[in-house]
Symmetry: C2
Subunit: 331 residues, 2 copies
């Protein structure tokens, strides 16, 4: 295992300390493991909080800031944050208008966020939960009942964060998050497996010419293994797989996230983006907005995922709203 770490035991602590030093505009509680905005809103607003296992950076800490998350709570590598940690994140940023929890659909996360929600409600903090379950690859798995939550998390966090910023109610912010999730589908292809530091070796074995189609962001098995093919063919297959599961039709617009899984350079992501753009154009679907980069990663895994969100004027307006976070910034 070749990694830039001090030890498998301290990787999260060390990375969080580095994150805190690199982002003095945020408040990082290294004991509680909560990343929060550095300034409190002047008037009460709905807080948007997310979290999940680490190893998916910049998700979620990289999306904390004006226009997106109020706080994030990173668990150990590929491990849900504990309920007390989620509670601490909610407590750190709630201002009386309630808290929306954005939760990726994995059994551990769902359980721990539910417990945290109960604890918060007991303290008088009103909670709504938005579950993200966009991955069309598998229904149920070793990690999940139902579909896995992956790239759509970025769209859900961006749109809920933007609406909360505008002073919407708790119900409205939760509703837009659920709508953004329902409008989104994702699918991923791995060229290599991720190596969890504590394990010290890749999570699965792939032959030199083999890829895992439909892989999860923890290296969960996909639909099948097949030979590596030209990016154009892979991209077409990924687009077609998503469209088979989506209500997109000719004339529709989408927000597209072409996402690197951690070990894939930007040059390759642009090759993939071009192929996805072309395939969608053949189907009469236009990419209205896009991100090309590594936003929801799986440690050092090489590969990419595609997330397509069916766009409408409200979602596009919220997508375009100003955002200022370590990983996503526009005005």
């Amino acid at each position: 295992m070749k990694k830039l770490i001090n030890s498998p035991e301290t990787v999260l602590t060390d990375a969080l300390a580095g994150f805190a030093a690199a982002h003095p505009e945020l408040t990082v509680d290294l004991d509680q493991r909560v990343i929060a905005r550095g300034t409190r809103p002047g008037t009460p607003k709905v807080a948007v909080v997310s979290g999940g296992g680490s190893g998916h950076e910049p998700l979620h800490g990289g999306f904390v800031g004006p226009g997106m998350l109020d706080a994030a709570c990173p668990g150990e590598i590929f491990t849900s944050p504990v309920p007390d940690q989620v509670l601490a994140a909610a407590q750190a940023v709630h201002t009386g208008a309630g808290v929306v929890l954005v939760v990726k659909n994995y059994t551990g996360d769902v359980l721990n966020f539910r417990l945290a929600a109960e604890l918060a409600e007991e303290e008088g903090i009103e909670i709504r939960t938005v579950l993200v379950d966009d991955d069309v690859a598998v229904e149920d798995s070793t990690w999940t009942a139902g579909r896995r939550g992956t790239g759509a998390t970025v769209v859900v966090e961006k749109t809920t964060g933007a609406l909360a910023e505008r002073g919407a109610t708790l119900a409205e912010v939760a509703a837009i998050g659920k709508r953004a999730n329902a409008a989104s589908r994702s699918f991923a292809v791995a060229l290599t497996a991720a190596t969890v530091p504590a394990a010290g070796k890749p999570g699965f074995d792939l032959a030199e010419d083999e890829i895992e189609v439909g892989v999860g962001i923890h290296g969960e098995p996909g639909r099948r293994r097949e030979p590596l093919r030209p990016a154009r063919e892979l991209a077409a297959e990924v687009v077609d797989t998503i469209l088979a599961d989506h209500d997109l039709t000719a004339g529709d617009e989408v927000i597209a996230l072409v996402n690197g899984l951690g070990g894939t350079p930007l040059l390759e992501l642009y090759v993939v983006y071009g192929a996805i753009h072309a395939r969608l154009a053949e189907r009469g679907i236009t990419i209205a907005r896009r991100l090309v980069g590594s936003y929801v990663t799986s440690l050092d895994m090489a590969g990419f995922s595609l997330t397509l969100t069916k766009a409408d004027p409200q979602l596009l307006d919220l997508w375009d709203a100003p955002v200022s976070t370590p990983a996503l910034t526009w005005s």
Copy 2:
């Protein structure tokens, strides 16, 4: 070789087509291979143009936009753009106030940009060249006379771009670029070699526990090979190597770029950043501004580079100026 490409022959063409589709706010000439801003300035301003071999994305095309480059011209993978291409980039964006060419110090680039400058001058376009040579690892190499140009390119492009935006003269913009370069030093460590698509195999061999210290962004040999060590020790060695070659002293401030080389995930870069921050603090040096991410890459190489620029009020002011490009945006 496992890469998301269509073929080694078309990788640059395909990536540029994808880049053009992903960034409709820019003008991409796919025949000339010139990436330029989508809108022309209202009044004449100095244009800042850069370029170099591809495989270092987001450098340079990802830095085209208001507040930074006016145009970029990407060569083939690890190969300088040709003189006519550089000329076309200068012609595309000059408005009568002259053009600053930012050139990384590699023999091919220096030669081709010099020829392009001569051609442009013949056409009445006034040219100044800023040579970037910040890598302290080696003096002369198979690719270079003198030091190699690496991470400081980001600082040079940001500060020249910001000053040009404010209406400074050609001499002033060139002068700030030279000053930013002179204030910068870099050093890189590779955990793996990059694989050039046309070669189909890694550029050099490293054992499972071995790293290349002082590596170049084309995989040029560094100072030595040594066993992989904890990130803390590597970071300290890199900081100390740079400080030994820099005039930084206790009390100074720096702009720090902790840069991934293409195959290293953000989690690891934050571990490295924390260690660099701590080592500099021990020496009494404060990081006033920083970037943590993959900005000057070497295809899929795993590893990192550190660039330290001695800060002063003018450089910090130009660094903080608004920028809106695919890879760097703030307001």
